[in-house]
């Protein structure tokens, strides 16, 4: 089974019209063409390359990772003499991906990377997550290499980046017992060792995903006497250099194949990434935005898997003389699952395109910043809903361990928690709400729809409803911000505002997808767009009713 070829939405987003610009930015106007044997000469060739590699990844996801998911969930990793041993299936997954040269796909070619844009990286993460979300966390952590590529000096880049291609695994060591969401409280100490000409780490990190990785990016307090974010720097630690021991592996509810560890650093030698004091405020924030998009991709992969599990079950389970997918109540569930999956996916690839364009454009960077929390927030919440509904479609059987849906349900739960909880995503969205940046983006989408040719009556109806929903959002915003955007009243309403504007944005994006889709695809996109149109109208009216009274 190929997890890329059997999902035509993926190719649809790979061939989005804005990809021309994405490719051009990533390839720096094809500067390497003819100079490097793998560099593409034009947009078509680049997209053809992404397509070829996604096919390969789709094969590995479908034929190796997905069949291993169940045994990995049962077996889990083991702690042996202070080191983590992956489950047998996890090892196989890693071997297949490393042997296929897929590690480091976003790195520049000089480091054996494929120089792929974020859009392709996010797609790879979605495909892998559909096969096994737990494994997708291990895979996704190679994004640490992007931080090294972006901020470290040449010496570190040359030392560490080629190892990613060879399969060096990564971890991002931020959390500590007293520093979870509040990373400013990180206490793990970094001290300069003049004699050895390196930094030394001492302290404990907790809840570290893939904690026994080969390469670690560690947030540590380099400035003695400080107690805020400005005293923190970012370090790269190589496990081969010694000084780090795994104290325990957590016994988790889900993503059991992904080892979550407590680490003890004792005089562990390391090197600083970039400049002192910028660890949290610049580098982690940059890494975190990437990681949030990554969790979005994990969530959408899980949604896709849940949809397929539910659809397959509903098409085979007979009750009252019919398969249950003939019953409207089940159809509604399946339709909502599909709509949420499609909406979150459209939003994610839109955001990924802006992240790619952000490299050379300030306005694109601003849009990427406001859309990223929406991706993380919606996709992870939808993943939980889809996993819940997937069990619902399975009925009593879904409550038994025999079906994959129970694993999906457990795996989904972390998605709205790690890399910033849903609540923190709402906080992150506040800035864009208060500045009107989201509204500006919605207006741009509306103008794009208006400028499109061949709008059907149905599309015009949806656009007009979305304009009403947007007006409702404006009124709601005025009502809740009447005491200022720092007031408690405003803070209480930010989740509602975030939900309403997310639904409007996803509806517009799906409408735009429908406009450029083939006839067959159009029906599905419009159906999903219609779901979000109804959600946004319903939600905004509900909240208006509450705040107006």
């Amino acid at each position: 089974m190929n997890f890329y070829l059997d999902n035509e939405n993926l190719s649809f987003y790979l061939h989005h019209p804005d990809m021309e610009q994405v490719v051009s930015v990533k390839e720096k106007n094809f500067a390497e063409a003819g100079k490097h044997p793998e560099a593409p000469a034009d947009t078509n060739e680049a997209i053809q390359q992404y397509d070829t590699i996604m096919r390969l990844l789709g094969d590995i996801a479908g034929d190796v990772i997905a069949p291993n998911a169940e045994s990995v969930d049962h077996e889990g990793p083991q702690l042996v003499d202070g080191r983590i041993e992956y489950a047998r299936g996890t090892r196989q997954n890693l071997d297949a991906l490393v042997q296929s040269g897929l590690y480091g796909m976003t790195l520049e070619r000089q480091y054996n990377g494929l120089n792929f844009p974020r859009v392709a990286a996010v797609m790879a993460a979605e495909i892998i997550a559909r096969a096994d979300v737990g494994f997708a966390t291990i895979w996704g952590l190679q994004d640490c290499a992007d931080t090294i590529q972006q901020f470290a000096n040449e010496e570190l880049k040359n030392k560490y980046l080629p190892r990613i291609y060879q399969g060096a695994t990564c971890s991002m060591d931020l959390t500590e017992p007293d520093a979870g969401s509040d990373l400013q409280s990180v206490r793990l100490k970094a001290t300069w060792d003049e004699a050895s000409n390196c930094w030394r780490l001492n302290g404990v990190k907790r809840f570290i995903t893939n904690g026994d990785a080969d390469l670690h990016l560690v947030l540590a307090r380099s400035e003695e006497g400080t107690n805020d974010g400005r005293g923190l720097s970012y370090f790269v630690f190589d496990k081969a250099d010694g000084g780090m021991k795994v104290r325990r592996i957590e016994n988790k509810m889900g993503i059991k194949g992904s080892p979550t560890a407590e680490l003890q650093f004792t005089n562990a030698p390391c090197q600083i990434v970039g400049e002192r004091r910028l660890g949290l405020i610049k580098y982690v924030m940059s890494l975190m935005n990437g990681a949030r998009l990554g969790v979005g991709a994990q969530s959408i992969g899980l949604c896709e898997c849940a949809c397929r599990e539910a659809e397959a079950y509903a098409a085979s389970r007979e009750q009252f003389g019919h398969t249950i997918d003939k019953f409207v109540a089940v159809q509604d569930l399946l339709r909502q699952m599909r709509a949420r999956t499609n909406g979150a996916r459209s939003l994610m690839y839109e955001t990924a395109r802006y992240v790619d364009l952000a490299v050379s454009s300030k306005p694109a960077s601003r849009v990427a910043d406001i859309l990223t929390p929406l991706v993380k927030f919606n996709a992870s919440e939808f993943a939980n809903r889809c996993a819940y509904d997937c069990i619902q479609v399975h009925g009593g059987s879904g409550f038994m361990k025999e079906y994959a849906c129970e694993r999906l349900y457990r795996d989904a739960r972390i998605l709205s928690i790690y890399e910033g909880t849903s609540q923190l995503q709402v906080v992150a969205a506040m800035k864009g709400i208060a500045s009107g940046a989201y509204l500006k983006q919605i207006e741009a989408y509306d103008a794009k729809v208006s400028a499109s040719e061949g709008l059907t009556d149905d599309m015009c109806r949806m656009q007009s409803l979305l304009r009403k929903a947007t007006d409702g959002y404006r009124r709601l915003y005025e009502l809740v911000s009447s005491e200022g955007t720092t007031s408690e009243r405003f803070e209480h309403s930010t989740r509602a505002l975030t939900e309403v504007l997310s639904n409007i944005i996803m509806a517009y994006l799906l409408l735009l997808d429908a406009i450029r889709a083939t006839d067959e695809q159009r029906v599905r996109f419009l159906d999903s767009a219609d779901y979000f149109v109804c959600e946004s109208i319903g939600d905004v009216n509900k909240h208006l009713a509450i705040y107006e009274n």
Partner: protein, 265 residues
């Protein structure tokens, strides 16, 4: 240099045969069939790549015969780790049976200079003859090991193979050069490598014509093929009827009685 040649074939994907797979006149409608790398040839490629992994200085060349489109499997093989490959493609090769095919292939292999090991799948899923490998060995006067399941050992002068037989396995050692045909029980082929895939996409596969293999034209293609296909039938295996039995002793007794009466039991 230790030279390994892998014989491969692009075949119709018999797992995906649709209703339009046959023409009205009983011939195969190739245009309607997706093509794949013959599965046992992929297994042979993997075994060859494992030999390469174990030898210091080995090189894998993949040889196929077919229309220009067969270049796809050469690219596929090279993206999985083969070093080189070419397609024997010429109208004069067309219509070849196993005799003419093995002649053309053996002539092509002779042009390659020193070859230490030839590997191929046991048989192709379209013809199921399992003849081409052994015939190539005969024509090149090489020892042959058929039904290979596992590579046991390899050195510059010999190869040791575990063969899959009907009731067990047999370990066989042969002097090199030799020819080995590999069964479906062998290891799956490794996945392609992303970087190689991208490089292959920019590369042209070499096409070799009948003039380049020092062949007797009378022994090629249809002319060199004593086999004549009279007719191909489309056989669809399907249940004609089925009976649902109640899980009772009486129903089972009835079934036994019927089966005995119809001389099935």
């Amino acid at each position: 240099m230790f030279n390994i040649v892998v014989l491969a074939k692009q075949v119709p994907d018999t797992h995906n045969v649709g209703a339009d797979a046959m023409n009205a006149d009983g011939t195969v409608n190739r245009a309607a069939l997706p093509t794949v790398f013959n599965p046992e040839d992929l297994k042979a490629l993997e075994m060859a790549l494992r030999v390469k992994d174990q030898m210091n200085d080995a090189r894998v060349t993949v040889v196929t015969m077919g229309p220009p489109r067969a270049a796809e499997i050469i690219k596929d093989a090279m993206s999985r780790g083969a070093d080189d490959g070419f397609v024997l493609s010429d109208a004069r090769f067309a219509g070849a049976d196993t005799l003419a095919t093995s002649y053309a292939i053996s002539q092509a292999v002779k042009q390659l200079g020193k070859v230490d090991l030839i590997m191929g799948g046991r048989q192709a899923i379209d013809g199921d003859t399992a003849q081409v490998g052994p015939q190539v060995a005969e024509k090149l006067e090489l020892p042959q090991i058929t039904y290979a399941e596992e590579l046991v050992a390899i050195d510059q002068n010999s190869i040791t193979i575990s063969r899959r037989l009907e009731r067990g396995t047999e370990i066989v050692k042969a002097k090199l050069p030799a020819l080995v045909t590999v069964t479906s029980a062998a290891n799956d082929c490794r996945f392609p490598n992303a970087h190689r895939l991208i490089r292959q996409s920019k590369m042209e596969v070499r096409m070799i014509n009948a003039d380049s293999i020092n062949a007797d034209m009378e022994r090629l293609g249809l002319k060199g093929s004593p086999t004549k296909v009279k007719r191909i039938e489309n056989v669809v295996l399907a249940h004609k009827e089925s009976v649902v039995l109640q899980p009772t002793d009486a129903a089972l007794n009835d079934l036994s009685a019927t089966l005995i009466k119809e001389h099935i039991l």
